[in-house]
Structures are given as structure tokens and as C-alpha cells.
């Protein structure tokens, strides 16, 4: 008997194919804390056709592509599925936005963005494949393998 690990949802958004172990960070980047009232289910390390993955389901809320794109930093293969009445009405893969603001802390301790100035951290995409980002202020490129630890 096939046991459903995560129940299908009637309306809302399913973020699938999240890099395993990163579901909570995805929610953090999206600024979803659970206080919003929607039902949120998280499944981590689910074995799918292409190996392990995390899944996040948010009921009764359709996330816009733009707001979800920033998770491409830590979940480059994630897909966004918009569900209406149990049907996937929209599906697309995340793609990194050209500017990443207030999400990643610059790894350079001498960077102006790490001081007390009234600015948010800002990164621009230096290369899409492989994904490399560069601090808008000091031009430092963080090591993408350590990007998790730089999420604000």
C-alpha cells in the first residue's frame, strides 16, 4: 500500500524538489513563520524519483514567482506548483533574480554592508551557471557551498 507522506492540498502552493535539508531555510527566506494562519506542511528527505528532496506545502496562499525566486540560492532545482481545486494550474522552476537584497550576509567582515549603515545587504548575479553571486558593495563572491551559513 502506498502511503502518502504529504497529503495533497486543495488550494495553495507546493514547493517541490527543494535541496534536501533546506526546507526550513526556504521558509525563512520566504519570511513564512506560520503566524500567517495558513496550514503549512513540510516534508524533509523524501525519497523521490531523482533522489532525496524536501517539499513545502502552503495552503490557501498562492506565492508569486518573483517572491519565490530568491530561494534559488539554496534550492536551485526547486519547482513552484500553484494548486487550485487539487489541480496544478501553474508550474515553473525557480530562477535566480538579478539582485538579491537582504537575504545573504556578505562574508567580508570589512564590507560596508556589515557595518551600522542604514543599508541592506545586496548581491548581484555574477554568473548563472554555475551560480555565483557578488556583493554589490565590496564585490566579494561568497563560496556557494557555504551560502547556507550566510542566509540572514
Amino acid at each position: 500500500m502506498k502511503v502518502l507522506k504529504v497529503q495533497p492540498i486543495k488550494d495553495g502552493t507546493v514547493i517541490d524538489h527543494i535541496t534536501p535539508g533546506n526546507a526550513l531555510k526556504v521558509l525563512k527566506i520566504l519570511g513564512i513563520e506560520g503566524k500567517e494562519g495558513s496550514i503549512i506542511s513540510i516534508a524533509m528527505n523524501v525519497v523521490g524519483k531523482r533522489g532525496k528532496k524536501d517539499i513545502v506545502k502552503i495552503e490557501n496562499r498562492e506565492l508569486k514567482a518573483k517572491e519565490v525566486d530568491k530561494i534559488a540560492l539554496i534550492a536551485p532545482n526547486a519547482t513552484i506548483n500553484i494548486i487550485r481545486n487539487y489541480e496544478v494550474v501553474e508550474k515553473h522552476r525557480v530562477s535566480i533574480p538579478s539582485q538579491i537584497i537582504g537575504i545573504v550576509k556578505c562574508p567580508n567582515p570589512n564590507c560596508i554592508s556589515n557595518s551600522n549603515e542604514p543599508i541592506e545587504s545586496k548581491f548581484v548575479v555574477a554568473s548563472k551557471k554555475p551560480l555565483k553571486i557578488k556583493c554589490y558593495y565590496c564585490e566579494r563572491e561568497p563560496n556557494m557551498e557555504e551560502i547556507d551559513s550566510l542566509i540572514i
Binding site: 567580508n108 570589512n110 564590507c111 560596508i112 554592508s113 557595518s115 551600522n116 549603515e117 542604514p118 543599508i119 556583493c135 554589490y136 558593495y137 565590496c138 564585490e139 566579494r140 563572491e141
Partner: protein, 308 residues
């Protein structure tokens, strides 16, 4: 080409043609910089010179540049006497200063500070050095010197010598030289060699810099750009002495050098170049220092829109 209102934050913000235009304008400024001709080009303009970190050469040459063109200068040479000491943010200092001036020149210890200042200011920001980050006016005056001394930038084989890892000026200079397709040699002790990001960037731009450790064979070099190896980089003072000593340029080093070799140094120097070199025609470093003035005059006149 219109530079009016533009910020000078990083050399990478400029195309090759824009850089050449700046050098051309600087060329015309030389007699005024030398005091042989008088100018009132920037009469009525005020430059704010905000030095959050001391720097004799950069600050003096900017102030001289502004005054040689008939402009006025306000500002401070170190933050000790200002409200920054009371904890004011750089953003607020910039917003205050811009209400008193037409252009801001700044040096600040934090990397990216000039880029941030440019976001807050509506007047042009000229970066006079931001920590270990960029120092575009030094880069431009270096390019100006190479062109003035040798006639062109691209035809030369240029050796960058000394501390290539931490040296603020050499990274942007390497980038600019790659942009001009000059041949480059990076000569440094292994622990102070050019960072791989810089080398890779040069390669991506089509340059093929040679990496070397010794200054013994420089027969085919046209420009020797020497930088200071700092004591702080070495935990062991003996090791420092040994390394610094082996990169010292003296008459012996240049005995097989090209007749028209020029030696440059961003100054101040400590022991990197033996004073016996000063009297030779190879020594271009004092002329290089002077060139800071016409180049900075050109930048001020361009960003203020007085020259197109």
C-alpha cells in the same frame, strides 16, 4: 562622451574608450597641473574631501587638482575632529556633506563604502580608496603614466612586482591592463602572489599573465611596477627581511634591462627601490606621483560637466 554627474567608484565601471578619454583630458591638464598655465575652469565649485583614513598623497593631489582649476575645497583629513567620532553613520555624513558641495572625494577604511556613498549622494562621488577595495584614481594615473612614458599601454610587457596578494592597487591595475591587452608578468613570493580570482579574470579577458617568483630575468620587460611588501604579512621578522630583500630593485637588478625600461611605484616606498635608481632615466615614480594631479583634474572637470 558625457561624464557629468558620474561616480568614480571602480575602474570596472568604465569602458576602454572612456578610460582613454579621461587620459586624453588629463593630458591637456598637464601644464595647469605644473603651474605653467593658470585656469579658472572650476571657479565657483566646491569639492568636499572626506578622508576617514589618512592618506597624504591622494588627498593632497586631489586638493591641488581642485585648486589648480580655481575651485574650492572643504573637508577633513581624518575623522578625529568630526561627528563620525560621535557615531554618525557614513550615510548621514555623506548626506550632510553633499548639501555643501558639488563633488565628494572620499577615502574610507571599509570596502564598498564609496559604492554605498554613491547610492546616497546626488553629487558625484570619487573613490579615493575604500579599504582593501578599489582605488580607481590610482589605477588611472598609473595607466596615464605608462602611456605618457612609453607612448602606449597595449604594446608593453608589464611586470607587477612585490605584494600582489594584498596590494590594493595591483588588482585593479591588472584588470585594466588586461582590458588594454598588455602582456603581464606577476612576480611575487608564493605567499604573496596574485589571487587566483584576479588571474582568472585576466584570462577571461584574453590576457595570459606569466606567474614568476624571481626578479632575476627582466630583460624583456618595458614597465616594472613595484609595490611594497609589508612587514605585517610575515609572522617571522627574519622571513620578512629575507623575502623583502630578494625583491629589492637595485642597479644589479636592472643591469640587463631594456634601455627604455621604466620603473613605477605607487609610493610611499620603504626599501623596495634602492635610492641609486632615482637618478637613472628608468625611475618614473616621481613623475607618476605628479601625474596624480592632472588625472584628478580631468576627473573633477569631467564629473562636474565642465569638460565633456
Amino acid at each position: 562622451m558625457n561624464f557629468k554627474g558620474r561616480d568614480i567608484v571602480s575602474i570596472k565601471d568604465f569602458t576602454k574608450n572612456e578610460i582613454l578619454h579621461i587620459l586624453d583630458v588629463a593630458e591637456k591638464m598637464v601644464p595647469i597641473a605644473a603651474g605653467k598655465e593658470k585656469s579658472e575652469l572650476l571657479h565657483g565649485y566646491i569639492m568636499a574631501s572626506l578622508f576617514f583614513e589618512p592618506s597624504t598623497r591622494t588627498r593632497l593631489s586631489f586638493e591641488a587638482a581642485m585648486k589648480r582649476l580655481g575651485g574650492n575645497v572643504i573637508g577633513f583629513a581624518q575623522p578625529g575632529t568630526t561627528s563620525i567620532m560621535k557615531g554618525e553613520s557614513l550615510a548621514d555624513t555623506i548626506r550632510t556633506a553633499e548639501s555643501y558641495c558639488d563633488v565628494i572625494v572620499m577615502r574610507h577604511p571599509l570596502e564598498g563604502s564609496a559604492r554605498m556613498a554613491a547610492e546616497f549622494a546626488s553629487v558625484p562621488i570619487i573613490n579615493g580608496g575604500d579599504g582593501a577595495g578599489r582605488h580607481p584614481t590610482q589605477c588611472l594615473l598609473d595607466l596615464f603614466t605608462i602611456r605618457k612614458e612609453t607612448g602606449s599601454i597595449e604594446g608593453n610587457k608589464i611586470a607587477l612586482v612585490g605584494d600582489l596578494k594584498y596590494g590594493r592597487t595591483v588588482h585593479s591595475l591588472a584588470y585594466a591592463l588586461a582590458l588594454f591587452k598588455a602582456r603581464m608578468v606577476f612576480i611575487a613570493p608564493p605567499e604573496l602572489q596574485m589571487p587566483s580570482e584576479v588571474v582568472n579574470e585576466c584570462r577571461k579577458m584574453g590576457a595570459e599573465p606569466e606567474i614568476k617568483h624571481g626578479i632575476d630575468d627582466i630583460e624583456d620587460i618595458d614597465v616594472l611596477y613595484v609595490t611594497r611588501i609589508q612587514k605585517e604579512r610575515f609572522p617571522d621578522p627574519e622571513e620578512y627581511k629575507k623575502v623583502a630583500g630578494s625583491y629589492r630593485i637595485d642597479m644589479e637588478t636592472i643591469k640587463n634591462a631594456k634601455d627604455n625600461l621604466i620603473i613605477m611605484h605607487p609610493l610611499p616606498r620603504v626599501d623596495e627601490i634602492d635610492p641609486s635608481i632615482d637618478a637613472t632615466k628608468h625611475a618614473a615614480y616621481f613623475r607618476q606621483t605628479f601625474n596624480g594631479v592632472p588625472v584628478r583634474m580631468a576627473l573633477l572637470a569631467l564629473v562636474l560637466g565642465v569638460i565633456k
